[in-house]
Subunit: 454 residues, 2 copies
């Protein structure tokens, strides 16, 4: 086993070994998608990452970086053998400068830990992708992850001012830094954000923070159907009110998650749900909450609007669990994350159900209404290979729909390995040429996360 032996010399005996099943899949496992790798290596710090990359680059060994393994597009799944580079040991807080509203963290720190550290000083890191306990900030940066608060506050990339990364053939570089504004040279930091590890390995990041809002007050309204929900959404966007969060669940998602809903029981008439949140100072949040109640209640029924912290937290825990409730329907799912202009949301919601029906699969969607970002989901029996194949064909049609509505095939999960063939269908040849040209500049041997993103 010369590969593992060699890597042990770089990172120590305890931190390199055979690649077990745990590092060959990610949260997209419901698609029976798993890779193969010759070794897993867990460097201690950026210098060891550089040493591993140098060794791999010298020996033409593929490198698949891995954060929390919570990705949904196969981005962390090794598809070409070689080494899985587990960044979990790079979990240090390098600097915390609360008076400058910033921190520097290593890539392997859990997203929830980033949030917790910020909160200790009354500060806030707004990006809140779904699997915060599993995902790492490095993974969030690699996919430019979103989440409910992206509506008002932007996605992960909006909060990164500097990156440390290991590039080929094994060198640590820094782009950007603690400063909040920097326009010196081409923005390689922004190019690395969302690059899914195909250009280099992010090892640490300077994150921008803001004072945590003192109050956050959600309002939940239900509508008889998606058309009525769309009217409420459009009216709200036109009203001048600015919520921090603007989520939705369609009829199927509401039905799946209704049992655990922390408010009053949801009747059978809940054909569509909007969840908005007002935030800011207590005065501001209360004022916006009042407007939300008015606008969302015009044509809908306000079913829940907790004002106590426990009630608010329970609501968001429930929202986090929607995905699990949906899986519980049939044991498995294939979930995509298309995005469309928000005024086309109802069309995408209806289209998801129609496409599922054409392939004999129940379907539903939920997600980030304000960003027009849908988790369009086909429910399936994981043991039934035929259903999975049908779901994959359905996803194909779903992407056509997203593009036809003026949208994109991925709003926040990334392309990974699973959506690559679809990306190629929609990308202009000139854009593809540039993408591959940039890739070749960073990674002339094509060893960084092969088979992903581009």
């Amino acid at each position: 086993m010369p590969l593992v032996e060699e890597l042990r010399r770089v990172v120590g005996d305890a931190h390199a070994g055979r690649a077990g099943a745990a590092v060959l899949a990610d949260a997209s496992e419901q698609r029976a998608f798993a890779g193969r790798a010759d070794a897993v290596v867990a460097p201690a710090d950026a210098a060891e990452v550089a040493a591993v990359v140098a060794w791999c680059y010298e020996h033409d060994v593929a490198i698949t970086p891995r954060g929390g393994g919570s990705g949904l597009a196969g981005g962390a799944v090794p598809v070409a053998g070689g080494v899985v580079l587990d960044l979990g040991r790079l979990d240090r807080l390098r600097a915390f400068e609360p008076e400058g509203w910033r921190m520097e963290v290593e890539a392997g720190m859990r997203t929830s830990e980033v949030a917790r550290r910020a909160r200790e000083h009354g500060l806030w890191f707004p990006p809140d992708p779904g699997a915060a306990e599993q995902s790492t900030i490095g993974g969030n940066i690699a996919t430019n992850a979103g989440g409910p608060h992206a509506f008002r506050y932007g996605v992960t990339g909006a909060w990164v001012t500097g990156l440390e990364a290991v590039i080929a053939p094994g060198e640590v570089v820094r782009v950007g830094g603690p400063v909040r504004k920097d326009v010196a040279g081409l923005d390689l930091k922004r190019l690395l954000i969302g690059s899914e590890g195909v250009l280099g390995i992010v090892t640490a990041a300077w994150l921008r923070l803001i004072p945590a809002p003192e109050a956050a007050l959600p309002v939940v309204a239900v509508y008889p159907d998606a058309a009525a929900g769309q009217r409420a959404l459009t009216t709200l966007l036109a009203s001048g009110v600015q919520p921090a969060v603007l989520e939705f669940l369609d009829a199927g998602a509401v039905a799946a998650a209704a049992g655990a809903f922390p408010g009053a029981g949801l009747g059978a008439g809940a054909g569509f749900m909007l969840v908005a949140e007002a935030d800011g100072t207590p005065e501001a949040a209360r004022a916006v909450r009042g407007e939300l109640l008015e606008v969302l209640g015009e044509e809908g029924e306000i079913v829940h609007a907790p004002e106590d912290l426990a009630g608010v937290r329970a609501l968001w825990r429930w929202r986090d669990g929607v995905s699990y409730s949906v899986v519980a329907q049939r044991g498995g799912k294939l979930s995509e994350d298309i995005a469309v202009p928000p005024e086309r949301l109802a069309e995408a919601v209806a289209g998801t159900v129609e496409i599922g029906a054409r392939h004999g699969l129940p379907a539903c969607s939920w997600g980030h209404a304000g960003d027009g970002n849908l988790h369009s989901t086909f429910l399936l029996d994981r043991e039934d290979a035929g259903e999975l194949a049908r779901a994959q064909r359905a996803a194909h049609e779903l992407f056509d729909l997203a593009v036809a509505l003026g949208g994109t095939i991925s709003g926040e999960h990334g392309i990974g390995a699973l959506k690559r063939p679809d990306l190629e269908r929609f990308e202009a040849p000139a854009v593809r040429r540039l993408q591959h040209g940039v890739k070749a500049v960073f990674d002339p041997k094509g060893l960084f996360n092969p088979g992903k993103a581009i």
Copy 2:
């Protein structure tokens, strides 16, 4: 004059000609910096831009794109002959979708016109760089321009969801679009933002908007010196209050602009000024204003806090004019835009004056305190070449100071032609290699804005 004749065939007789003095300089003219070009061409639309680029690419002619000519780093100044590509005729509003909080505009639209169009529908485009009446949105995108509201709302790039650009050898491409979230493939849109025209020519952009804040209430406080101002700034950042704007003027800038100050007369004791603004709903803005008055008034004197719209507008007009008031001192200036961590602001302010003194030049600074972004300025007599040379040496030292304080040599103006030698001093060789590699992918002949940015 075959070049001009050929270009006239592409854009029509009226829209190509000899390059007059007006297109050979930008707002950095106080440095006696002007270029040379063989022709100026003003295409009507993206298709004509592509045709001009195709012609230039075929004939190895350099292309210098030009927006409003308000840049301060020589980014729009042709330094290698060839063609100045004036984008002023691409000034159309292509789409306005207020219910989706977005518009698509062509690159030549004035920044002030973008703002005006948004306001007509109660919406707001937050980026507000200094020369909004002269600058174009394309120029703002090319430099990723900032402005006072960048403190809370981010720089131009945060508000661009899609770009149309002409790339080599003369093709119109689109990256991103109207959708607010998109992680499909490498983020070429973000790479083009801030690239100063060296990768391609931005011809149109989808811009994200938000509802205009109903209220914006500024508070102006003065302090005996920069150290006291720094304490107030740090206390404010630590207080949990989140202003929309957080500007400063040092003693020299206050003295230069005091005469026009729209509040009560500024005494000689005004050694440092902070200008903060609370915004949001009327309730929220009033609450934050109260906190600003308290925190900034602790150690400082509140000299102005207008609540009426006319008073607020007068204050910001005055702030916009600071640069002119400073020029008026000696007839000329060399102004840089370093950025440092905000808790090092006072050091950068003192350092600016010290460096000026070493070179026999009065100096002052003002700018965006919350972002640590200083317009560090050396005052000079424009007719005195010796003073200009001394100011350039002083700027050199200023960049050393910015980097030593953990900052950058350009927070918002860009590198252009003028700061290129300085960028090279501070850039790691590996980063430079990547920058030039990316440039070569987009522009193998090196014809897009040669001599700039990288």
